[in-house]
Every structure is written in structure tokens, then in C-alpha cells.
């Protein structure tokens, strides 16, 4: 009990306060990779603290079981207990009930989440299979196929084998270096397994919509993953080329207004970040702050548990 409470307190504090701090630190996408690490560490740290607290709670429930059983036996056989014994038993009972309900809820959430990820993966695999048969090979990248479609579209489908799909509309608009930048961006997504991070954080957001860290974390992780892939593409093809490719693809043709209004803002943020590279000193300061926050978040649950169990 005494260890579980501080750990729960820590989890709640991080879950409610970290989003504002991390959101501000990672807003501009300076050191996108460190920003991504900070968000993920905050989530992992919260989950770990909550899980360990839950485990302590369950253990204290198990430890109290003997006393509870003894008291029930005595009551049944007509030997009344003291009032404190009954109070103690009530607490034990409540703790056991909480531990069981929380454990069951966690299991149910994990199961439902696993199923939805599986379904999405199956559909993506089917999508990639059809794309690989329907599409034409794109010379130069044996994972990339070209589909006949007027809209400028480029995306990657993870899986074995991973597939990058480029529409003929995109090919018509992009020059060769720009196409290289687009492919480098998609390859970076595949190489860094961003889809796993995004699936994981989206699942957490769906499971805990009321917890700010998870509810807001998913979109930040997705945004920073895009920026990481941009960095990889910019290193390979140059920032100017990537900016041109982004602009071409984003404004190439007018698409029916069903798309999200946020997409323009997101692209604008990516463009702004690529165009306005901050001074090295400023980058270093951001990197240092993010790194220390990350380390702190990683160590804090251990410290809390260590101090509480003294």
C-alpha cells in the first residue's frame, strides 16, 4: 500500500503535467528524434509506474488474505472479532477488489487493442499484395511500385515485404531529386518502424482518452515521426529539394474537401521547420533539455519505488 500510493501519484502527475511541458519543448521539432524519445519515455514511465503500483496493490491484497479468511471463519463459527479487525478486513477487501478490477480492465483493453492492430495489419498486407501486383516497378527501388492515379500520392505500407506506393500523378509532378526525397522519407519511416510507435500510441489514446499524456501524445508522436523522416530525407536529398517535394505533393491538385483541415497546418509546420534551421547553440540547448527530461522520466519511477519501499 505505502509503495503503491506514491507510484500512482507519480503516474498521475506525469500523465497530467508532462503533456504541456513536452508539447512546448517539442513544438518546433528541434531535435525531432530526442523529442520523440521524450514523449515515448514519458508514456513508458507512466505505464511502468502504474503497473508496478498495481502489482504492489495485488501483493498486499494477497498478503491480507489469510487474516480475512480467518476472520470470516471466526464470524461464521460464532466468535465475534474486534471492530478494528472488521475495519482491517474491509480495507483488505476493497484493495483486493480494486486490484482485480484494474487487472481485468487492463487485460480487456490489451486484448481489444491487439485485435484492432491485427485487423489493421491484415488489411494493410492485403493492400500491399494488391499494390505489388497492380503497380509497375519503379526502377531504382525494388520495394516501390507505381499505381495509375491522377492524384499526387506517396505512402508506405509496412510489412514483409514493405511496400512504397507512388501514384503516376506524383511521378508526373516530381523531378528526379524530389522523387528521391519522397522515397528517402518513406524509407526512413520503414527503417525506423514508425508505424509501430504510431500504432502503439494510438492504441493508448483510444484506451485512455481521459488521460492527457496518452490522448495528446499520439498526435505528437505522429508529428515528430514525420519530422524524423523529413530529417532523414533532408540529409540525403538536401532541404531545398525536400521543401520543393513537400510543396509539390501538398498543393499539386485540389482534392475534394473531405481531407482534414489540420493537414495544411501540419505541412506548414514541417516546411517552416525545414526552412528555418535554428542556430547550433539553440539546437544544443533544446537537445540537452530534452535529454535530461527523458533521463529523469526514465529514472523517476525507480526512485519513487525505491524511496517508498524504504
Amino acid at each position: 500500500m505505502t509503495t503503491a500510493l506514491p507510484l500512482f501519484g507519480y503516474a498521475v502527475a506525469v500523465a497530467w503535467w508532462a503533456p504541456a511541458l513536452l508539447g512546448r519543448l517539442t513544438a518546433g521539432g528541434v531535435s525531432a528524434r530526442l523529442g520523440l524519445a521524450a514523449w515515448l519515455t514519458a508514456m513508458a514511465s507512466t505505464l511502468a509506474a502504474a503497473a508496478v503500483a498495481l502489482q504492489f496493490l495485488a501483493r498486499s491484497a494477497v498478503d491480507g488474505w489469510d487474516r480475512l479468511a480467518e476472520m470470516v471463519c471466526r464470524s461464521v463459527s460464532g466468535q465475534p472479532c474486534t471492530a478494528t479487525a472488521y475495519q482491517g478486513a474491509a480495507v483488505e477487501f476493497a484493495v483486493a477488489a480494486i486490484a482485480i478490477v484494474a487487472g481485468l480492465a487492463a487485460a480487456a483493453l490489451a486484448w481489444r487493442y491487439g485485435r484492432s492492430v491485427q485487423r489493421a495489419q491484415r488489411q494493410a498486407r492485403a493492400h500491399a499484395d494488391v499494390a505489388r501486383i497492380t503497380g509497375r516497378r519503379l526502377p531504382g527501388d525494388d520495394r516501390a511500385v507505381v499505381l495509375d492515379a491522377a492524384q499526387p500520392v506517396a505512402y508506405c505500407v509496412p510489412g514483409r515485404p514493405a511496400t512504397i506506393v507512388v501514384s503516376s500523378g506524383a511521378l508526373a509532378l516530381l523531378d528526379e531529386p524530389q522523387l528521391g526525397a519522397v522515397l528517402a522519407h518513406e524509407r526512413a519511416h520503414l527503417a525506423s518502424r514508425h508505424h509501430l510507435l504510431i500504432a502503439l500510441t494510438r492504441g493508448l489514446a483510444a484506451a485512455f482518452p481521459a488521460v492527457p499524456l496518452f490522448a495528446r501524445g499520439a498526435e505528437h508522436v505522429a508529428r515528430l515521426a514525420e519530422m524524423c523522416a523529413d530529417d532523414a530525407a533532408a540529409r540525403r536529398s538536401g532541404r531545398g529539394t525536400l521543401i520543393a517535394a513537400l510543396l509539390t505533393m501538398a498543393t499539386g491538385t485540389a482534392v475534394p474537401a473531405q481531407a482534414l483541415a489540420a493537414s495544411a497546418c501540419a505541412v506548414a509546420a514541417r516546411l517552416q521547420r525545414l526552412a528555418e534551421q535554428p542556430a547550433p547553440a539553440c539546437r544544443a540547448r533544446y537537445a540537452l533539455t530534452l535529454a535530461s527530461v527523458t533521463v529523469l522520466l526514465a529514472l523517476a519511477p525507480l526512485l519513487t519505488a525505491g524511496l517508498a519501499s524504504r
Binding site: 494488391v130 501486383i133 500520392v153 505512402y155 509496412p158 493537414s263 505541412v267
Partner: protein
């Protein structure tokens, strides 16, 4: 040629390039001119494609005549719908280079670019 999956693509594109139905023999003759390939390989591939729903076939004498169940354009259109239609399960797994946007959003983006260009004359 890397794997069996690739051969399926090669065969499908050949079938699409034909106007009418095609037999294994006809396709084998075409392919054999360009690469070392066994008749039975072509036959198995076409049989697989039939099983997966890509090819329909009618028996004519001793052989089957195969046709594509849908055109290349229809498959492409279906894939594009799947890739662009937000909210689907597949959508959650795909990583788009940029999200699609409408005219107004494009205008917003151009405004940002103009602003950036003014701030940093090159």
C-alpha cells in the same frame, strides 16, 4: 526475377495487356521469348491467380482461357480509395508523405511559403 509474387505481377500485367482471353500456352510463349521459364511455372502462377480471384477462366477444349476479373485501372482506383479514405483500418497503418488538402488549405500553405520567402531572401 526475385520471387513468386513478382511472377504473379508479371503475368497479371501480360493478361491486362491482352485484349481478349489468353491461355497458359500463349502467355508461356510470350514469356519464354524474354526469360528462362518453365511452362508449369506459368501454369501454377495462373492457377494461383485464379484461386486468389485475380483471374477468371473458362474451359475450352483441353485448356483454360483466362481473363482478368477487373482492369488495372479498377484495382488502382480501389487502392487509392483505400489509401485516401480517412478513418479506415488500413489508413492507420499507411504513412503518407503529405496529407491531402483542399484548395483553401493549399492557399494557406502558399501563404506560409510566401512569408518564409520574405523573411529569408535568398
Amino acid at each position: 526475377m526475385r520471387g513468386f509474387g513478382d511472377l504473379e505481377a508479371v503475368v497479371m500485367h501480360r493478361v491486362w495487356d491482352h485484349d481478349g482471353p489468353v491461355t497458359v500456352r500463349e502467355l508461356f510463349d510470350e514469356l519464354a521469348r524474354e526469360r528462362a521459364i518453365a511452362y508449369t511455372t506459368v501454369m501454377t502462377t495462373m492457377d494461383n491467380l485464379h484461386r486468389k480471384g485475380w483471374l477468371a477462366r473458362v474451359k475450352e477444349g483441353k485448356a483454360y482461357r483466362y481473363t482478368a476479373t477487373a482492369s488495372r485501372e479498377e484495382y488502382s482506383a480501389r487502392l487509392m480509395r483505400e489509401a485516401l479514405d480517412g478513418g479506415g483500418d488500413t489508413q492507420a497503418v499507411l504513412s503518407h508523405f503529405v496529407d491531402q488538402m483542399d484548395g483553401e488549405e493549399s492557399e494557406m500553405l502558399r501563404a506560409v511559403v510566401r512569408r518564409l520567402a520574405e523573411r529569408r531572401p535568398r
